[in-house]
C-alpha cells in the first residue's frame, strides 16, 4: 500500500519534472494516510535515491538489469511493470513529459490497466479504495477534463509545471529489485546519441522573441534575430511560420512544438490561436507586438504595443544599443 513515484532521468541525471511528481505523490500519499515510495530504473540512477529521500520517499526501489544503461521505453515500462506487480501500490505517478508519458503508457499497456495522462488535480477525498477522480489537461491545456480512473492500481502522469516542488526530508531505505527483461523489450533502448551543441535552447531561454504570420517572410526574421541576440535570447515562431517553410519546426512554440517558460516572451505578429497559446502560456511575462488591438494574444498578454512589428522591433534594438552606448 503506497503511492509510487516514477523518477525520470537521463543516464542518471534527474529530469526536473520528477521533483513535481515526488511532491504531488507525497501529498496524495499523505491524504491517503500511506507512504510515498519512489522507483528509479537502471543502476546508473541509484544515486538519485538521496533526492527521492529529500522529497519524502520512505523507500526507493531500484530496478536493476544489465541492459538498463540508457532510456528505452519498452525496457523501462517492463521493468516498472514488474516492480508494480510485486508492490501493488494504490497509485503510480509518472512525469508529464514526452518520455514520462511514454513510460507510463508502456506500464499501463503491460498491466492492461487504464492510465490518465497530464493530470492537474486529484480528488482531495481520495483514500485509496474508491475510483480516483482527476482533472486532466486536453488540447495541450486549453481544455480540462474531469475523469475517473477505475482500476485496482491508478496510473497517472502529472501535468508538467502544475505542482511547485517542495522538500520534505525523510530517512529512506533502498530496495534493489532485479528485473527480468525479455529480448523483445531491448530493441527500443537508445542506440546512439548526437549531443546538442551547447547553447541556449528554446525550452531554456530566458528571453524568446517570436514571430508569426505577420512577419511575412523568412528574411523578415532578421530584425527578430538581432533583438534576440541583444537580449541573449532565442527566436521562436508560430505554426503558421513553419507551415509556410519560413523557419524550422525546432523553432515552433506551441502544442505540437516546444513549450516554453521564459522570463519574457515577445510575440511579434502572432494572433495567438489556441495551439500557439498553450505553448507560450507558462511564460512569466508576455509582450505582444501586433497591429490588431483585438488579437487574441494582445488581450491575453500582460503587455502590448500596438504597431507594425517591422518598425517596432528595429526601434527596440536601436534603443537598446543607444542605452548601452554602442
Amino acid at each position: 500500500m503506497s503511492v509510487l513515484a516514477i523518477i525520470e532521468h537521463d543516464r542518471g541525471t534527474l529530469t526536473s519534472a520528477s521533483l513535481g511528481v515526488l511532491t504531488a505523490a507525497r501529498n496524495l500519499a499523505q491524504q491517503m494516510n500511506t507512504t510515498m515510495e519512489a522507483l528509479t530504473i537502471g543502476a546508473n540512477a541509484d544515486a538519485l535515491s538521496s533526492v527521492a529521500a529529500l522529497y519524502g520517499a520512505t523507500v526507493v526501489h531500484q530496478a536493476h538489469h544489465d541492459a538498463l544503461t540508457d532510456f528505452g521505453p519498452e525496457a523501462w515500462g517492463e521493468a516498472a511493470a514488474q516492480v508494480i506487480t510485486s508492490l501493488s501500490p494504490q497509485v503510480v505517478m509518472g512525469s508529464g513529459t514526452e518520455r514520462g508519458h511514454e513510460i507510463v503508457a508502456q506500464i499501463a499497456a503491460r498491466l492492461d490497466l487504464p492510465a490518465s495522462m497530464n493530470c492537474t488535480e486529484f480528488d482531495s477525498s481520495f483514500n485509496g479504495t474508491q475510483p480516483l477522480k482527476v482533472v486532466r489537461a486536453r488540447w495541450g491545456g486549453s481544455l480540462l477534463e474531469q475523469a475517473e480512473v477505475d482500476a485496482p492500481i491508478k496510473i497517472v502522469t502529472l501535468a508538467n509545471h502544475t505542482v511547485e516542488p517542495t522538500e520534505a526530508p525523510t530517512t529512506s531505505t533502498t530496495n534493489v529489485i532485479d528485473v527480468q527483461l525479455d529480448a523483445s523489450v531491448l530493441h527500443s533502448i537508445v542506440r546512439d546519441r548526437v549531443e546538442r551543441v551547447a547553447g541556449v535552447t528554446l525550452a531554456t531561454a530566458s528571453v524568446v522573441v517570436s514571430g508569426g504570420r505577420g512577419v511575412g517572410s523568412a528574411e523578415a526574421f532578421a530584425p527578430l534575430e538581432e533583438l534576440a541576440a541583444l537580449l541573449g535570447g532565442v527566436v521562436g515562431c508560430s505554426r503558421a511560420v513553419t507551415n509556410n517553410g519560413w523557419r524550422n519546426h525546432t523553432d515552433q512554440v506551441g502544442q505540437t512544438g516546444t513549450r516554453i517558460a521564459p522570463d519574457i516572451y515577445i510575440a511579434c505578429g502572432i494572433s495567438g490561436a489556441i495551439q500557439h497559446w498553450v505553448g507560450a502560456m507558462a511564460s512569466k511575462n508576455i509582450l505582444a507586438i501586433n497591429l490588431d488591438q483585438e488579437a487574441n494574444i494582445v488581450t491575453k498578454s500582460g503587455y502590448a504595443v500596438i504597431g507594425d512589428l517591422h518598425k517596432v522591433v528595429p526601434a527596440v534594438s536601436a534603443e537598446i544599443r543607444r542605452r548601452r552606448g554602442v
Binding site: 477522480k133 523483445s184 533502448i189 522570463d263 526601434a315
Partner: protein, 255 residues
Amino acid sequence: MKILVCVKRVPAPGARINITDDGQQVDTAFLGFTVSPHEECAVEAAVQLVEQHGGEVTVLTLGPAEAEEQLRTAVSVGAAKAVLVPIEGQDWDPQRTASAIASVVKDLESANGSFDLILFGNESADSCGYQVGVRAALKLARPMVNGAKGIEIDGTSAKIRRESDAGQDIYVLPMPAAVGVKEGINLPRYPTMKGRLASKKVDISRSETTASVGGLKMIQLQRPPERASNTQILGTGPEAASAIVDLLEELGVFK
C-alpha cells in the same frame, strides 16, 4: 514496403475552444475538422518512405462515419488504401480504441500480409492520451518508439531519430515495428489534382469491430480558469521602443 498509418479526426479550433452545454464534448457547430497534426505528418512520412522504397500506404481511422473525410484527405496526398473503423457516439477510451485497432490490423494482415511499419501520432491533439499507439503496438507484438522526428529504413530495420534534452537519440527497431510520429518530422505536402481525384474515387473499406470499455471514464469537460489579463498597452508604433526597454530593464532581462 507496406505501411499503415492510424489517424484521428479532430476539430480545428481557432482562438478559443467552446464546450457544449452538457459538458460532454467540444462544440463543433462552427468548427471544421482536420487530421490531428502529428498524424498528418505521419501520413507524409509514410508516403515519402514508399516513394523511396516502393510499396503502399494504408490509412486507418477509428471514428464516426464523417471521418471518411480525413481518410480521403490522406489519400489525396498519397495513401493508396483507406479503412474506417466506424463507431457511434462519444470517443472510445484509449484501451478500447487500442484493442479495436489491434484487432482490425490483425484481420487486415491475415487477409493481405503484414505491415512493415505501423505509424501513429505521438498523441492526439484533442484528448492528449499519449497511449493508443503504445497499447496497440504491444497487442500486435511490435517494438514501438514514440516521438519520432526522423525515420530511415535500413534493410530490415527502421532507424528512428528523436529529440531529447541532451540532443538527438537514435533508436533502431527491427521491422515489423510501430512508431509514434511528431510534428516537425516533415512539412506535409498539399494534395495534387491527381490526388484529389483519387481521393474521390477511393473505395473506403469498413471494418466493424467491438472492444470492451476500459477504465478511464470521461465525466465532463470544463474550461480552464481564464487568466486575469489586464493588458497594459505600452504605446503605439516605434515610439513605444523606450517603454519596451524600460520594461525589459524592470524585468531584469536587459542589463
